[in-house]
Every structure is written in C-alpha cells, then in structure tokens.
Symmetry: C2
Subunit: 299 residues, 2 copies
C-alpha cells in the first residue's frame, strides 16, 4: 500500500479507443497526479491489445506521478472503452484478471460525456476514428451510432478513409472521377489500383482513419470527391446532433480528433449550442468509478 | 494411372468463389465426365479453406465420374480463383503442394470469360458475391473492379448486404428511414440494433451476400431503401459494362448468381448486346489449362 496523506485513495481513469489509450491518476479530490498514453485499446479490434494498452498507459501514468509500479494494485480504476456496449465484449473485459484494486467498466461514450460535463447531465458527439452520439438527461440515457467499422460510424475517420479508398479505386478504373483526393490517396499510400487493396486488406480502422486529414484537405480545397465524402459524413453527424438536442441536454460538446475540422461542415445552428468540454474522457472514467463506489457503499 | 481409351488425358476445371467451389472433369475432347460442388474457395478470405474446398470438389467430381480417388494424381487441373490478381495471393496458391499432376492458375474472371465464349474473345460482367468486369479483345486484357469487400464490388451481393445492414442500423437509431427492407433485414437476422453488429462482426462476404435477395425483393416492391441500393449497384454495373463494350468484344455475357435479378435494373441498351454464356467458368478453367499446355509444349 502506497502511503498518501490521510489514507487517500488513488484513482485511475482509462479512455480506450481505436488509435490510443489515455490514462490519468488522481487523488480523491480530483487532483491529477500523472498521465500516460499507450497504443490502441478498442476491444472490437483486439482483446489482448486492449489489455496491454491499458496496462502500459497505467504504468506510464504511475511513472509520471512518481509512484512505484507496485501502487498499481492500489488503484481504483474506471475505464471507458469502445465496443463494450456489445454484451459479449463487456463480459470478456469485465472478467479480465486486471492488476488494479477494482475496475469499473463503462462505454467510452459514457465516460466522455461525464468528463465533458463534470459528471452532470449533457450530450456529446464524438468524431474520431469512429463517430457516435450520447446524452444523459434526467436519468435517461440516449445512444446513437457507434456501431463500428464497416457497419456505421459515418463521418468518423475510418469511414472517411474507406470512402476515399473506394473513390481512389473507382478513379483508377476510370469508372469514377479522378480528382485531387484520389491522387493524394495514391500518393500517400505510395501505391495505385490493385496494390491499394493489397496494402489495406488487413488494415485496422485506425489505419483507415489516418487518411481522414487528406479527405478534409481535399474538401477544404473544393475537390468534388472530398466535398461529397465530408458533406455526407457531416450530414449524418448533424442529424445525430439534432436528435440529441431534442432531449434538451443542459450542455452539449463535440469531442474527438476530428471535432475541430468537422465543425465548419455541420448545420449552422449546431455551433450556437456548443459548449467546450470541461474534462477529458479519462477524467470522466474516474467520475464513473467514484459514482459506482458510492452506490456500492450506499453513500 | 487410370486407363482411358487411347491414353487420354483427364482434365479438372475449378471455379472458386466466395460462396462455393465448382469442379468438373472432362476428357481431352471436352466431354464432361463428372462434376462436384464444395464450400467457399476465395483465397482472400482463407487460404486453407480454399485448398480444402478445391480438393473436396475434385473428389466429388471424381466420384461423380466413377473414377477412383487415386486418379486425382493424373488430373491436369486449371483453376480460376477470386483474389489471385493480387500478386501475394497468386504466389501462395501457385506454391501449393497440390494433389494433381499439374495446376494452371488464373483469375476467376479469366476462366469465366473463356468458358462463356468457348475460349474466344469476349467480355463478361460477373455479379455474384462480388462484382467485376473482364474482356479479352485482340490479345489485350481489360479488367474492371473485383477489388473485393469492403473496398469495391459495388452491385455485388456482399456490397448489397452491407448497404442493407447500414440502412437497418440507421433505421434502428431513427436517423435513417424505417422501411420494408430495414424491417425484413431485422426479421431475417432475428435481431435488431446493436445485436446485428454482434451477429455480423465476423461475417464473411458470403454471409453478407445472403442478404442480397431481400434487397432485390424490397426494390421489386418499390421500397425506397431497396430501390436506392439496387439502383446504385446497377448504375456501377452499367458503367463497367459500357467501358467493356467500348473495346468492341465480339460477345458479351453477364454471369453470377445475381445476373438474372440484376438485368432489369441495367441501362436498357445493355440487354441488346447480351449473349448467353456457352459454358461455365469451370469449363473455362480447362480451356485455360489446355491453352497453357499447348504453349508450354510449343504446339
């Protein structure tokens, strides 16, 4: 047991997604002691990788907090992970022989929303590798999208990347238009035509998402294929947003790696409803752990 | 060595695809002695499965021809397989320690075109699990599409199934329209919403393709989502067809499990150019083996 003033408990917050895993350690008053970032932690795309990334991020956060690795066993962890809305994945992660003193598991959406709104009611849209919407209002939960790649997540980076690959292949066959975007995809991958398929055939959603900046770049330059993809993605995000706002959440934020670049393409009224997020999803995961502990202890 | 009149050679033709593997055995005059059908043989989706399906289909064809299994080692095989236009897959299959006396390997498109036009010049569109176009005219080869799932193959069964799943998920979220198609997909899979993702998360292209009849059914009944998907797929197939016909092939055929149902949705002028295919792709694979043997022997 690590000695902290007044027998304080240590909390670990985990935010796991398709491209990276963020961890932070706080004391019970919410003071951040350290943080760490490791590789992908999306259980949909690899259970073992998820466990490894969570452990690595936690180790880096302990190191950053100048705490010994042995303090791992004292951490009360909250984790918000992509994919655990699927019952089978929730069970697999929940049965993990984790190295912490406790692990409270929820979706990445829930922890993101709790973080953005300091544990209170609100709505969030996440536009990163994937896309989804979430709101908690008056003890009711609303969830939209987040079905994963390649089923859904329109407007997310992986979806954009796949649409760009499709356009590049159609252009190569001269069945679709050859534009700045289709050329920049081929240049970026350094292959053309069939070799694109060979290179991407085992690609993860994070690799598709790495093409999203090219799609935004093309759209911003007025490229017709770039515009088509970004507008289709933005229309989906706008529709999700309006559905969430209909529940009248007190606050609304857009999160994720594509949020800033997506914003200009959304319906104009959305910008007026936007609040900046207060904390990150890894802090939201700690709020979740603390709320669950209170419920369990009956506080 | 099995004794046949006049020291005849025995030929095995293989047509491998995403849902099944067809085999036929002929004598050197092209008389069909037997045939067999086994499971999927698309090396893009499983190398070992491909080898197993080819062997099983060959065994069934030998049995059908009332030849002993030991005759396997005497068969001169030609195989047209999906995916072997990818250099890495071609090499893997070409290095297979196959049980035949020889194996001549080409793409499923090439063997289909040779079969449809009795080894002569011509063009084919294949609309089955995937979609693609191919023509040989005056010693030049033209290839369109066939990039595989989920990159391309618009208008193929797997693409249709994925589009239908996307529509069903958007309808479940009330972000897209709820129609006869989105309901029939949920009824067929016997699950809704997130459980669709759980059920399809490891699905192969053949499982997606099994949803294609529902999409055609919906379109034929005037369902707006069914119409949107079938029209988008048919527009792609029509564009590919016109590009192939521009090379003025002497014959043109549409092949594959969706060909009959797709035909009414294609541009009207395409029907006027259509010829019935003479032989199946498994017979085309035998033409390929015979042509290669002649080249090698210098006949």
């Amino acid at each position: 047991m690590v000695n902290l003033p007044g027998n304080q408990e240590l909390f670990l917050g985990i935010d796991g997604g398709g491209t990276k895993c963020r961890a932070c350690i706080t004391d019970q008053d919410g003071m951040i002691l350290g943080s760490g970032i490791a590789g992908p932690a999306n259980p949909l795309h690899g259970i073992e990788e998820t466990f490894e990334s969570i452990k690595e991020a936690a180790e880096l956060a302990l190191e950053d907090a100048r705490l010994p690795i042995s303090a791992m066993a004292d951490l009360v962890a909250g984790a918000g992970l992509a994919g655990v809305n699927l019952p089978s994945l929730y069970t697999v992660i929940d049965n993990w022989k984790h190295p912490f003193s406790a692990l409270y598991l929820t979706t990445d959406l829930h922890s993101a929303c709790l973080g953005a709104h300091k544990g209170g009611d609100g709505a969030v849209i996440i536009a990163g590798t994937g896309s989804c919407g979430y709101a908690t209002v008056d003890d009711k939960e609303y969830l939209l999208g987040g079905y994963g790649f390649p089923f859904g997540d329109q407007g997310g980076g992986a979806w954009m990347g796949l649409e760009a690959i499709k356009a590049a292949l159609l252009a190569f066959d001269q069945v679709g238009p050859k534009t700045q975007l289709t050329e920049s995809i081929a240049d970026f991958l350094q292959v053309r035509g069939l070799m694109i398929v060979e290179q991407m055939s085992k690609a993860k959603s994070s690799e598709y998402a790495s093409l999203a900046p090219l799609v935004f770049q093309a759209a911003e330059n007025g490229d017709p294929e770039g515009l088509r993809i970004v507008r289709e993605g933005a229309a989906y995000i706008s529709t999700m947003t309006h559905k969430l706002l209909a529940h009248e959440p007190p606050r609304f934020s857009i999160l994720g790696g594509l949020s800033v670049r997506m914003l200009p393409w959304l319906d104009p009224d959305i910008k007026q409803r936007l609040s900046l997020p207060w904390d990150g999803p890894e802090v939201g995961a700690i709020f979740y752990a603390q709320q669950k502990m209170q419920l369990i202890r009956g506080d």
